[in-house]
Amino acid sequence: MKKRLKINQKNKYYFTTKDLVTIAIISSLGGVLSTYVGYLGNLINRFFGVPFGAGQFMAGLHMFWVIFAIGMLNKKGTGTFVGILKGFVEFLSGGKLGLFVIILSGIQGLIADLSFLPFKKDSTAGYIVAGGLSTAANVFIFQIFFAPYEALPLFLAISVVALISGFVFAGVFPKNVVELFKVKSNDEGKKVSLKRSITLGIIGILALGAASYYLTQPLGKDGIDISGNVDIPYTFYPQNFRNEEVTINAELKGDYTYVGHKDYNGIPLNSIIKKSNPQGNKIRIIAKDLYEVSFSLEEIYGNNEVIITENNGSFTLVAKGYAGGYWIRDINRIVIE
């Protein structure tokens, strides 16, 4: 017996056939033009005489297609879809980042989608924020996968360049192009001024920088708060303990990190605790991100090989003979219980 197939009703799907074709075509064009964007990036690198980094100035053009598709379709999830599909096109066309480009582009698309959520449909601010954040995310994602955080000033400088590029090439530019191509049912769309947007973008970066500076200030500014079951709570500053500084040679053996034997200078935890005249028997060492480790007071008393070192205002516990998990970084509190 012939099986009868049920024909779906029109508009059953979230993405219509036209939406899917639009997504496919935009992703394809974006994938093809990534080579051209790379060429523009290299042009800038050559201009500045650097091997890479300055090319981030064009990074927004990679995100242009994602933001443009979101603007054309106005449907949630479009950014992620275009991001992944564009990544596949670049990957299968032999893109220089290989498989990684699918992950990178997909995450950037997701960030673009999420960034649009708080804004009204077709809002210029939405375009600029989504373009800026999703573009800057490429630096962050790339750092996570391939490069160290030790080069923090370089990382921040490149992130700011990418953010500005995102504001311009993935924010203002797609907004203006969407206005040009979209058939509007009501009024004509307004063109966004490039100069005004760049000014607003720079003000935004400065405001974000200021806010993050104040929000990330440690509890004990450049020191560690010693509190809990102690007679003398106080804030530890290394400069007050300079004559107690010791040098130990230790080896860090973590589950996945290994640092061979090397010398560390710092103040013994033992000396820091004693000054507070502790009454408890357990020491909790807490980092800014709330990660913590604990020791019994017994094992620390008289042990001068568990020290706190300081590097650019950040405190790290060097615990010779303990597993890597005890080498807690960014300490800002010690609590005695």
Binding site: K6, I7, I25, F68, F88, L92, F181, Y256, Y258
Partner: protein
């Protein structure tokens, strides 16, 4: 341009889904361990696969890019990582053992991922990947977007060439590096291309809807992408390998 190369090697015969899963597992496993020796071993293994699959290392394009990028990545890591035993210490420049190890680690990881991806591309027919994804359960309407996107790559490459040639004929180039000049350069390239692609969207949509695309929940295929015992075996081995390395890496915390 890196593209599919028709051959009869064992890598060509593996089902695209098995191959892409193995590729993801391989890439993920490189991020689980922070030892430069493992990353270098992985890179050497990938290069070995190029040789045994008959593709050959000469097919890797963009060597200049990879040499420049790898050297830059290496130098930046060596200069910025100052922990570890000093090999050279002349005030501003301090080269340490940790810096060199991390630099080798970063470069080897990057190259291992990129070259393994290239190997996948050279041994996998793109449309077969799309069809095998659909046959594996991805809704065909979504899977079809990949087919369409890949179908238009040569067309858009041709059109991009036309637009750039037209710009060159008009004498348009970046005379000075400024936000405005780059913005205008991008605008003069992107807008004509978008304008011409819009017609493809309309034509293709009408054509697809005319053929009742999406009318049924499922679709049929002229050619089934084969999925043999060796594909299943490879997948199982890869998953066992993944479980093994996850246990090795997180074992103490998992159990």
């Amino acid at each position: 341009m890196i593209k599919y190369i028709e051959k009869e090697s064992f890598l060509h015969r593996i089902n695209p889904i098995s191959k892409i899963v193995i590729l993801f597992i391989f890439a993920y496993s490189l991020f689980l361990f922070n030892y430069w020796e493992i990353e270098v071993l992985a890179l050497v293994s990938v290069l070995f696969l190029y040789v045994v699959s008959g593709i050959g290392l000469s097919k890797i394009e963009g060597k200049k890019f990879f040499i420049t990028f790898s050297l830059s990545l290496f130098i930046i890591n060596v200069l910025f990582i100052r922990e570890g035993d000093a090999i050279l210490n002349s005030g501003i420049i301090k080269i340490t053992t940790n810096g060199i190890e991390f630099a080798i680690f970063s470069v080897a990881r990057f190259l291992a991922i990129v070259f393994s991806s290239f190997l996948f591309v050279m041994t996998t027919e793109p449309n077969k990947l799309a069809y095998s994804l659909m046959q594996a359960g991805i809704p065909y309407r979504y899977g079809f977007t990949l087919v369409v996107a890949l179908r238009f790559v040569p067309t858009f490459q041709f059109e991009t060439g036309n637009v750039r040639n037209a710009q060159a004929a008009r004498g348009l180039s970046v005379d000075k590096i400024s936000i405005k000049s780059l913005y205008m350069m991008a605008r003069y390239t992107f807008i004509p291309l978008i304008r011409s692609t819009m017609q493809y969207i309309d034509t293709l949509t009408v054509s697809m809807e005319g053929r009742c695309f999406g009318a049924y929940d499922t679709r049929t295929y002229i050619e089934e992408v084969g999925y043999g015992k060796k594909d299943v075996a490879l997948l199982i081995l890869s998953v066992i390998f993944l479980i093994g390395i996850i246990y090795q890496r997180f074992g103490q915390n998992l159990f």
